[in-house]
């Protein structure tokens, strides 16, 4: 099986207060060419760290164990040149805050031209000719004027489009997107997502999208992976996540979302707060919040195993699935 991106038991330790501490415990995930996969999780779940590990954008002093393979090559073992090649041609990255990732004293046009010149080796003239059509492609009206403007003159939505234009221009095989729309208004979010989705499909690029929003993940990604406390707990086709969640945590997230409440005065809730990867002890990290917990759950961390068309890290998954995974989130 030749995936484009393959994570095998990825474990990441970040230097926190000078000591390396495990933030991501165990993530195994495949992304095929042209496929869109979402990593969904709450704060502290390690979803962004996982994404950064793929692009080797972790802070100095971090330790990565397990394997990150990009078209068969180990990203963790890459040296300077291979890494540069990976970042210019292999993967492109879209961040949450486009503004923070652009030089505020340089014009938007210069930013794009520079991206093309340095990453694609195009001449300056060639690049300048191309940027206007690039902006048009990402749905920016009046591109000539926009190119002459500075980042602070553009709205967040427009800047995110510019970022997407810069990434897409490099024709990467995989786009990594870290909450690309969570800072945007809903209407803008819909447009930016549609844009990203359209460009990706038309060019056959794969997408690894990190988000906290299960609904959004389902809308733009073929498959959804759910992370909790630094581990991947569920992974299956997005279309099925809402109908038949495999892990009690996913089921709880869906039930407690106001989207799915229909006029009930109270929402079902998952008790407690989401744990971060740092706080995980022995056993299932979700055990303390889970309504279906058994003594066995606290003994060892349940391994990710195949269930139906997906996989899940829950000891009681089969049993619960058979009985219908309901009442995970209780009414109190």
């Amino acid at each position: 099986m030749s995936g484009l991106l393959r994570l095998e038991h990825l474990q990441v330790r970040l230097p926190i207060d000078g000591e390396p501490r495990t933030v991501v415990h165990d993530v195994s995930l495949d992304v095929s060419p042209g496929e869109a996969v979402a990593i969904v999780g709450e704060s502290g779940s390690g979803k962004s760290t996982t994404l950064r590990a793929v692009a080797r954008l972790l802070p100095p002093g971090s330790e990565v164990r397990g394997e990150v393979l990009f078209s068969g090559e180990s990203v963790t073992a890459m040296g300077g040149r291979a890494l540069r090649q990976l970042r210019t041609g292999g993967i492109g990255m879209v961040f949450q805050d486009a503004r923070a990732n652009m030089n505020p004293v340089r014009r938007v046009g210069d930013f794009l031209v520079e991206a093309l010149v340095t990453n694609l080796g195009q001449s300056r003239e060639e690049a300048s000719r191309r940027v206007a059509s690039l902006l048009q492609e990402v749905g920016i009206a009046d591109p000539e004027r926009r190119l002459r403007q500075y980042p602070h003159e553009l709205s967040g939505g427009l800047l995110q489009r510019v970022m997407i234009a810069a990434v897409v221009a490099m024709e990467p095989r995989l786009i990594l997107a870290d909450e690309p729309t969570s800072a945007l208004d809903v209407t803008t979010q819909a447009e930016v997502l549609a844009l990203l989705d359209g460009l990706r499909r038309s060019r056959g690029m794969a997408l690894l999208l990190v988000t906290h929003d299960l609904e959004l993940a389902a809308a733009v990604c073929d498959r959804t992976a759910v992370m909790y406390a630094g581990s991947l707990v569920e992974e299956q086709r997005s279309a099925l996540v809402h109908e038949a969640p495999l892990h009690p945590y996913t089921a709880g997230l869906i039930e407690s979302s106001p989207h799915s409440a229909h006029g009930a005065r109270r929402l079902p809730v998952i008790p407690g707060r989401p744990l971060s990867g740092l706080e995980v002890g022995v056993g299932c990290p979700f055990a303390d919040r889970c309504a279906h917990v058994r003594a066995a759950c606290r003994v060892a961390t349940p391994p990710l195993h195949a269930v139906g068309a997906g996989s899940v890290a829950c000891l009681r998954a089969e049993e619960l699935l058979a009985s219908g995974l309901e009442g995970v989130a209780n009414g109190c």
């Binding site: 704060s43 809903v186 209407t187 809730v269």
Partner: protein, 270 residues
């Protein structure tokens, strides 16, 4: 509905002066609405719609350019200085909870002190009464007594937001404004806080004014919705009606933009 109007906003207008070549902006441009006692009303809109500015004017954090705001039947003059008496009365009329739980608590102040400070200011409680009131408020917002001696730094986002709500409730306000109070929280915590707000409302018949961009949250908590865009109210009505049969195209657009199962993002609808 024979309830008294608790909050009346009449032709409210707020113009921010432009600077460095930018023209002045009317953040709020002729907004009028009424919130009755016991109601839960939501101001919905995107950034720049003027919803937050409206809320800030109501609690006196901004001064309006024109228009009237009355709380509990008494107009709030946009005066630079108010008397101590008036300031405290306003505190007992309306309170606000902000979006960011990380910056809305004094980092140097213990939780218990933050809550009792408000209760003492308004009700002049002695030591024993203070302790009782603190225990009661912590219980109301689902915190334990040990939390009282903690600094905000040691609490999670959800816990901090509970503290912020407790501080606001300590003044026993008749109107509580929630300015995107759950939008910075994790999904599983958001549900807990929404339930907490529902409990408080049931127990105290407090009036809520929600300021939110999240239509799902609004559907969950509000009886009535005002949809705002560019400083104006474009649609108003009962939540059910507005969200199920929107009359205004902008409301429809907002609804269509919310990700949900089976939804596909579409381009260039605006």
């Amino acid at each position: 509905m024979a309830a008294e109007p608790l909050l009346e906003v009449e032709s409210l207008r707020k113009v921010f002066p432009g600077h460095r070549g930018h023209p002045e902006v009317a953040a709020v441009d002729g907004v009028s609405f009424t919130v009755r006692e016991g109601e839960a009303v939501a101001l919905v809109g995107e950034s720049g719609s003027g919803k937050t500015t409206t809320a800030r004017i109501v609690v006196g954090l901004e001064r309006q350019t024109a228009g009237e705001v009355s709380v509990c039947g008494r107009p709030r003059e946009p005066a630079a200085r108010v008397t101590t008496r008036e300031r405290r009365r306003r505190g007992r009329e309306a309170q606000i909870v902000f979006q960011d739980p990380y910056s809305s608590l004094d980092p140097c102040q213990k939780i218990g002190s933050a809550i009792t400070e408000v209760a003492r200011l308004h009700f002049g409680l002695d030591r024993a009464e203070c302790a009782a009131r603190l225990a009661d408020l912590l219980d109301q917002v689902g915190l334990r007594e040990q939390h009282a001696s903690a600094l905000p730094r040691t609490l999670s986002g959800g816990e901090r937001q509970r503290v912020a709500i407790a501080c606001a409730l300590a003044a026993e306000p008749r109107l509580l404004i929630l300015d995107e109070a759950v939008s910075a929280l994790d999904v599983s915590i958001q549900a807990q806080i929404l339930n907490l707000l529902a409990d408080v409302r049931e127990r105290t018949r407090i009036t809520y004014l929600f300021v939110s961009h999240d239509l799902a949250v609004v559907r969950q908590v509000a009886d009535r919705v005002l949809v705002m865009r560019a400083g104006r109210v474009v649609e108003e009505g009962p939540t059910q009606r507005v969200l199920d049969q929107p009359q205004d195209p902008y409301t429809q657009l907002l609804l269509d933009s919310v990700p949900r199962p089976g939804w596909k993002p579409t381009r260039a609808i605006a």
